[in-house]
Amino acid sequence: MTTEASGVRASRWYLPYLLLAPGALWLVLFFIVPMFSMLQLSLEDRGFANYTDVITDNGTVIVRTFSYAGAATVAAIVIGYPLAYFIAVRGGRWKNLLLALVVLPFFVTYLVRTLAWKILLFDGGPVVAILQGAGVLGDGEGLLGRDIAVVGALTYNFLPFMVLPIYVSLEKLDRRLLEAGADLYSSPARAFRTITLPLSLPGLFAGTLLTFIPAAGDFVNSELLGSERTTMIGNIIEKNFGKEFFRPELSALSFMLMALILVGVILYARALGTEDLV
């Protein structure tokens, strides 16, 4: 009996590794290995000077990229949190329909969605006409090629990634906690602040990552809706990678982007205290 049991246990020691293997193999082959070759490339020609050069050359672009990604993330929270809250708490039997509506734009490819914005926002288009009529835009002023077009499109394109995780964490929320709060004379606002918000932090955290990281690496929105005044890091890499002599610097730029995002994520996780939550 005992020997049999320990036999089973012994024969299963490898099980976790077996389960890990496909994912680990995939990541090592297609992530770690290319990373190393990129690291190597980023130190070619002039070594570490590639990094310093790339920062001095692209300072504005780096700052712009993170401002855009940050602005888009904040906008997505401002729009996405109430939306997710409404669906989770008040959605009732419409819940699934409303969620489907959030995801619906994703049935259309990313590029077509973004190009559609171009048709909406171009100088002779409806949005500019309305805004000019309302006096928000002056005569001859447009939207395309400006920060707002790119940030707006980034927000729109990544909004569902914000809404869905927040929805999931709000949906799990135990309403009895809110009732208990009310029984203890808490105002709804205070109950939200002390109960709902902290319990939805894991969703908010996941949503922020899923929005901020792809937004920081994006180049399509700036390419299609922006101009050379809205260049992001992704555009610099995309435009110049074909030139062999640019590659070490561009690899350095890619690494920097990754490092900055990583540091940002760690700081953000610390600030939110989400290590325990996720």
Binding site: D123, G145, E228, E238, K239, F241, G242, F245
Partner: protein
């Protein structure tokens, strides 16, 4: 289509799809004209082939050995009728005449991206699964220089004598031992006369503050810098690096002042078509397509001159059907064949006599048959060091 920056392939296929649609109208008309032109073409081609057979007795391009073989061609989009071997009159006629099946892939979306994609195989001395590729002169120069291109067998392309004289002896390939031009495109200005208040003939309007924010220029250095140099009274075909740097500085300064709406590759056509752009530095093939549906748009080679780019056919190392590729070059260099093709794709044929075989409408087209003046300039072939220096300066001036 034109040398453009390496761009997301999804993006490109989307754009290509878009423009194919726009072009279909044009394509159908062209197919009819092409069909008319091809009647005599086929006859001439068959006649010409007998001569070809004798003159290629050396053995490379004789029909017998090639029948049933297949030829893989990598080319730019919109460079053959319908971008499709099945319905392209030119390729159909080629297959009919030579028995060589063509696997035609309109997949080259940029000189740099082509190089990025295939350089590892070529450096390793392996083939890239293609028998014929089409690249712009400066990239053709680089490919030849690096030994990635096979020399054409002497006598394998007898019709090469039909090459336009001024293309016969370029600095990157003296005597055209490795390459033959496929098509000639132009970089000039496209604009809306009703928006800018009349006709334009001066290239310097792109720097006119009156049109600030309504102008787009190209992110292809050789075209934007070349046209700017012409406006400064400098000759891009002979100018020095300092001249080019002066032009880059001028572009950078104008950019900072908000003169340019965008500095971009192929996507300039979208803003232009929508009417957001009033004046665009543009490539002839694009404007020929846009004009098919947008009659308000005008095209001009400025009085100071325009830029010209030549895309060249090359046989990469490792090609399985070199003789087939040579047979294709030979086929294309018959004036009547070229007449049909270039009339359909709206580019200048590099084949002497092709224009005379075209319809009067095509002969009148500035895209196919530009007038002798204003002159079209080639950008001087740059050394790798010059290329790097200018590319860096241009990127710095236009992308930050």
């Amino acid at each position: 289509m034109r040398p453009n920056p390496p761009i997301d392939t999804r993006l490109l296929s989307l754009r290509a799809a878009q423009r194919t649609t726009r072009r279909q109208f044009l394509g159908r008309g062209a197919a009819v004209i092409g069909g008319l032109a091809l009647g005599p073409t086929l006859l001439a081609a068959c006649g010409g082939d007998d001569d070809g057979g004798t003159s290629t007795a050396g053995g490379t391009a004789t029909e017998g050995g090639l029948e049933g073989t297949s030829l893989v061609i990598l080319n730019w989009p919109l460079y053959i009728e319908n971008d499709d071997a099945e319905t392209s009159a030119t390729l159909e006629a080629f297959t009919e005449q030579t028995g060589i099946k063509v696997d035609y892939r309109p997949e080259i979306d940029g000189n740099d991206s082509f190089y990025t994609k295939y350089e590892p195989e070529l450096s390793a001395g392996r083939g890239i699964g293609a028998d014929l590729v089409v690249l712009t002169s400066w990239m053709a120069a680089q490919m030849i220089e690096q030994g990635f291109v096979q020399e054409l067998a002497p006598g394998s392309v007898p019709n090469r004598s039909n090459i336009l004289p001024d293309l016969a002896d370029p600095d990157f390939d003296p005597g055209r031992r490795y390459s033959l031009p496929y098509a000639i495109g132009q970089a000039g200005l496209a604009y809306y006369p009703d928006k800018v208040g009349g006709e334009i003939d001066d290239v310097n309007v792109i720097f006119d503050p009156q049109f600030a924010g309504k102008v787009t220029i190209l992110d292809e250095m050789r075209d934007s810098v070349g046209l700017t140099m012409l406006g400064m009274g400098l000759d891009p075909s002979t100018g020095s690096v300092a001249d080019a740097e002066a032009a880059i500085a001028k572009i950078g300064k104008a950019r900072e002042a908000g003169q340019f709406k965008r500095i971009t590759g192929n996507s300039y056509t979208e803003d232009l078509d929508l009417g957001d752009t009033w004046i665009a530095m543009a490539w002839s093939g694009d404007i020929a397509s846009l004009r098919a549906e947008n009659e308000d748009l005008a095209w001009v080679i400025p009085k100071q001159g325009g830029m010209r780019f030549v895309d060249n056919m090359l046989i990469p190392i490792g090609a399985r059907n070199k003789a087939g590729a040579e047979a294709f070059m030979n086929f294309l260099y018959q004036p009547t064949v070229a007449a049909g093709l270039y009339e359909a794709i709206n580019y200048v044929p590099p084949v002497a006599g092709a224009k005379d075989a075209m319809t009067p409408e095509a002969q009148d087209s500035p895209f196919i048959n530009p007038p002798p003046t204003p002159r079209l300039y080639d950008f001087r072939t740059l050394t790798p060091e010059e290329d790097e220096r200018l590319s860096r300066a241009f990127a710095q001036a236009t992308q930050q």
